[in-house]
Symmetry: C2
Subunit: 677 residues, 2 copies
């Protein structure tokens, strides 16, 4: 999954300028949107009536002496995906897109979101809401300055604001005679009340030792040793991101869609371990596993999830220093720690340690990719047979793929909502088909499939684009240039500890060369049965430097602007997960390169071999050989013989037409003939 919502990564600028020109998302599903300026107003059936909710919220705002209230799209852990329990923005606005900010004043209500969601917002919001087609803090604050009076108070829930986001609002309001007011009770929750889905209560379970790289005790010791080595000598580490706690204790649950996490915080001190969680979700074995009955340095003391704010405040009153990762800590917890007691890094040591997979974790992830390739290949083989019959659509296809993945050993569902997009739908960022709205797959169109699985041993993410008929020359060129980007970055040799940001252009050069580009990032880290987008590994400017043992996806794409070319309405993405490994260089030094662990062949129907250099071709054929060696035996073992034959056929070595040599041979033949004649 190449695309990353900016909600969770404020620092990731998704330019959204794709190919040549600005994106113009095509709404393929419906044009049935609200019309608030007609008389009477027109509201589609998909709209939610928010009048009562807004009245109740404004009452709360009045009680708290607020002129405005800001409702972001996040949860208290800055999660990328959020649980039903946290969908405040959707409840108050009706808008269910994954990125946006709502602001309510006494007289108005506005939603700010990006172009991906404009149509959706117009279909889901009633006329209480203005849609603002902008993102970022500045437009919101500028709007507020005209809407609320001087000396007005703007309220927000500090547990739903990242530190950076708070700083950005704080800076924008500075000198404006309006005040940002942090209110620890969430006003939306106060009016949501009984309608609000309950907090998750399903069991939190222990991930079997077979599937973990180290025990929780080893992880705790390793993190404590980093605390000791830190020059600011923190006495405690506060973990706010859900995958940090899940990773540290090797615990999983299912509070968040596609992410096996549970609501929690951890305060790891030099002498204690305090886990903030709903205690009733542990069974007695798990409590024993955590040594929860004692209070020593290797005993996990359980405290109620809701106590975290007060507990951190109490701890911070002592002679302590609390280490936090600034990116995933909310302003609500940050502000209770006095500045002089704060040890602030961009990412927590758990985030950074987790980014480097040890040998066992690497082996686990590799193994999950072999099985994931089996599911993918089963699906591709099935498509090849059934698409020409006209019986496959995007939605049923995605369901079948999810089913194939589900049949793989250790499967725990998809790692994100499958992007199954045919023809021009593939040009839509974040497109997923629904039961109601989908397109039929056809041999006349390209099909983009971006999907992944959660397995107990690893998380996968792979994108392939295929064409079962006759692609146009432009489609082949675009596909091949995307492939060259993938190859050029994958085979790059680069110095250790370099930032991914400075090498990602190798994935773009072949596209740039002819005036093509893409507006998204080139890849992201990935976890072991954790996040499919596991920060801070990747190619963004905020990513940490590349190191041996990290996994990242490599995902160049091409989305030509619809309508520019008759045959330009498509999207191409080729995404693989790769392990960062040491490179052997002619002269000694610590150099790295990538080893691709995704194991599904590309579509040779779309490759223009003549655009590849001999080195690129050699790389590709070597990769195909690897696929044969790793996936072939698994298909054989499971008697998937049709799939095995398909694999052999689709990994046949490719060779370039070599005009020079051919013409020389012709010359040779001709001259021989001349001489002979």
């Amino acid at each position: 999954m190449a695309l990353v919502p900016w909600a969770c990564c404020p620092w990731l600028v998704l330019l959204c300028a794709c190919a040549w020109g600005n994106p113009k998302p095509v709404d393929l599903q419906t044009k049935d949107v609200r019309n608030c300026s007609s008389s009477p107003q027109y509201l589609p059936v998909t709209v939610v009536n928010t009048t009562e909710k807004l009245t109740a919220l404004r009452q709360q705002m009045h009680t708290h002496n607020l002129s405005a209230y800001i409702i972001p799209d996040t949860d208290a852990h800055m999660s990328e995906y959020i649980g039903e329990h946290d969908k405040r923005l959707a409840w108050i606005t009706g808008f269910t897109g994954s990125a946006g900010t709502a602001v309510v004043t006494m007289g108005k209500a506005g939603l700010w979101t990006d172009s991906r969601y404009w149509t959706q917002a117009e279909r889901e919001m009633d006329c209480n809401w203005e849609l603002h087609k902008e993102v970022g803090t500045a437009p919101i604050v500028n709007w507020l300055l005209t809407e609320i009076p001087a000396r007005g108070h703007v309220g927000f829930d500090p547990l739903l604001f990242s530190i950076a986001s708070w700083e950005s609002y704080e800076m924008a309001f500075r000198g404006s005679d309006r005040e940002l007011v942090s209110i620890i009770s969430n006003l939306v929750d106060l009016v949501w009340e009984s309608e609000r889905p309950p907090a998750p209560s399903q069991p939190i379970y222990v991930l079997q030792e077979t599937f973990t790289g180290s025990t929780w005790q080893e992880k705790v010791s390793s993190i404590r040793s980093q605390m000791q080595k830190h020059h600011k000598a923190p006495t405690a580490l506060l973990l706010s991101a859900l995958d940090e706690t899940a990773w540290l204790f090797n615990l999983r649950s299912s509070d968040i869609p596609y992410n096996p996490f549970f609501y929690s915080y951890t305060l790891l001190t030099d002498s204690s371990i305090r886990l903030f969680v709903n205690k009733s979700r542990f069974n007695s074995e798990t409590l024993q596993y955590l040594n929860s009955s004692c209070t020593g340095s290797m005993c996990v003391q359980l405290e109620d999830y809701s106590q975290v704010h007060d507990s951190i405040q109490a701890y911070a009153s002592g002679a302590v220093r609390i280490w936090i990762g600034m990116t995933y800590t909310t302003y609500g917890l940050y502000k209770v720690i006095p500045k002089e007691k704060l040890v602030a890094d961009t990412y927590s040591p758990v985030m950074v340690t987790k980014a480097v997979k040890n040998n066992k974790e690497q082996a686990l992830l590799r193994a999950s990719h072999v099985r994931d390739a089996v599911a993918m290949i089963r699906y591709l083989v099935w498509l090849e047979k059934n698409v020409p019959k006209g019986i496959v659509d995007e939605f049923s296809g995605a369901e079948l793929l999810d089913k194939f993945r589900g049949e793989e050993e250790f499967s725990s569902g998809p790692s994100f909502k499958t992007i199954s997009a045919s023809g021009l739908n593939a040009a839509l960022a974040h497109y997923s088909p629904t039961k109601e709205f989908h397109r039929k797959l056809s041999s006349d169109e390209m099909y983009l499939l971006d999907s992944g699985g959660q397995y107990w041993d690893g998380t996968t993410d792979i994108t392939r684009t295929v064409h079962w008929g006759t692609p146009s020359a432009f489609q082949k060129e675009a596909y091949t240039r995307v492939l060259i980007g993938n190859i050029d970055l994958s085979r790059l040799v680069f110095p250790a500890a370099i930032s991914g940001r400075v090498i990602e252009a190798f994935a773009r050069r072949a596209l740039w060369n002819v005036g093509l580009n893409y507006g998204h990032g080139t890849g992201h880290g990935i976890g072991n049965f954790l996040c499919v987008h596991e920060w801070p590994v990747g190619f963004q400017s905020s990513s940490i430097t590349m190191g041996k043992g990290m996994f990242t996806s490599i995902a160049p794409l091409c989305l030509p602007e619809p309508g520019y070319y008759q045959d330009g309405e498509f999207g191409i993405r080729l995404e693989d997960v790769a392990l960062v490994v040491e490179a052997k260089t002619k002269y000694p030094g610590t150099y790295l390169t990538f080893e691709v662990v995704s194991l599904v062949p590309y579509d040779k129907n779309l490759i223009d071999v003549n655009l590849l250099s001999p080195e690129q071709l050699q790389y590709l054929n070597h990769y195909y050989q690897t696929i044969r060696e790793k996936v072939g035996p698994e298909l054989q073992r499971r008697q998937l013989l049709e799939e095995l034959a398909w694999l052999q056929q689709h990994t046949e070595p490719l060779s370039a037409k070599a005009p020079h040599i051919t013409s020389l041979f012709s010359l040779l033949a001709v001259s021989t003939l001349v001489i002979l004649s």
Copy 2:
């Protein structure tokens, strides 16, 4: 000149890790360094006695109730090169290197500098001074925390601290119970007194209109229009960098070595122009040129240079908003502007506007490069004849080159101290020969020449590395890989408005591929008779995005670690200045590429043609053709016929040996013979 002292660019991390491993600068000049631990202490003759100076300084510190005083290496304009008048660090320490920070406490004195200068510091400082082989704020503050008592005051001159540098100290001292104290009178100046070189007083002159892109009135209007368009509506713009004021008014002088600037500040308001400068340096024509006798919006009001602090403070007390570029404004001026009246961007609009050269400025810069190439070629031809005779050394060579440049029309001296380095000296960053210490040039060694000129129409900077004998295979490989880096970046097609940081790795890939690298930046902007390092154009993370009309140098290098290879002790750099131009792409879009305007051929003796791809070879031959077309006629016109012949010879098209085709031809020949026989 590829290397950039970090003094002026705190944000530029010069990793200093070159090739494979850490740098070990070789001190080739002398090992005659101080020994403070022997008894008696040993001090070389090059050492300066600082006892009395330190006593006087400590008296001042006592008067100001300070426990410590920080002396940086900058001037009040964050200049890269500083005038004699500003060499406080050198005067108080004895150390004359261009980068370092001195800190004096009541009992100790310490100098912090990087590895380039360690030996020099040990030769120049007496035993009053500790040498700390570290850089950055943290080591200095950590040292101070152990050296000065709690509640101690640490003094500094706010006009010598960048805002970032102040923030960095402020942050490091936070919660430490020590206080940073800004003292507007410089304590070193107070004790320097009569020994201090006077402030420059030579005339400030008007650059002829022939050599400027626009009149000062046009520039002022353009900047004012940017002020009006700014969403924060600044009422004034404060210019602190010396090249900002020199550019804005088309004025020049020679206060700073190699930089035609004069000490000045400008406060450009919506209704006035206030130039802070030593007024007596203008003659009546210049005063008239500046409209200095009136007070309208297009009249330049002259105020004394020393009044800037008080004048800004007075202006800031009104209902105003002052726009500054954070990078070049000192803390001293920043702090007098109330936060709510500050409009802060990274770079001032003058910095950003100046970065894009208009058509006339482009033509001027191009023209200066043709003449610069003539000087370079004259020198290279002369070297080719005279080096084998053993009569050339690094210093006399540099002098001759400077002389050749000086003979070119519009010459105004070198744009930086010529780096003329033979054999292993070329591996030293920032090496320049002196009359006393230099190495003979030889046909057995490589010679690196990094130099540039100031001309009224442009500033140049070019590096060539040559070998007149038989280079080793490793030297040829390293040279060719550096060349490939230069070619690959120069011919890159990239989207407009991209950051140079994300494309500079194309200059490194060929080196990385075999385990070679360089620790410096890849290039920098350059001015029109302004700075040879003109920020903020370049390939650093803090550079502004690339735009049509910018000039940047492209300067990959290779400095294998001395001693690793028998023949590894050398340095290779190939630096050209390139103009950012529009690229024509197959599919429409705004794409850019580089057009190299430096016009001196590379050394074919060092090129292994077989390492070049057909595309790289084609690019190179096209570049050679351009050199012939642009420099040839100039050599002809000046009857420099020997140089013209040399040029022709050194720009002969190169061609790869094509083993396949050759062997096929052999096969053809053989088969023909067989048939014939």
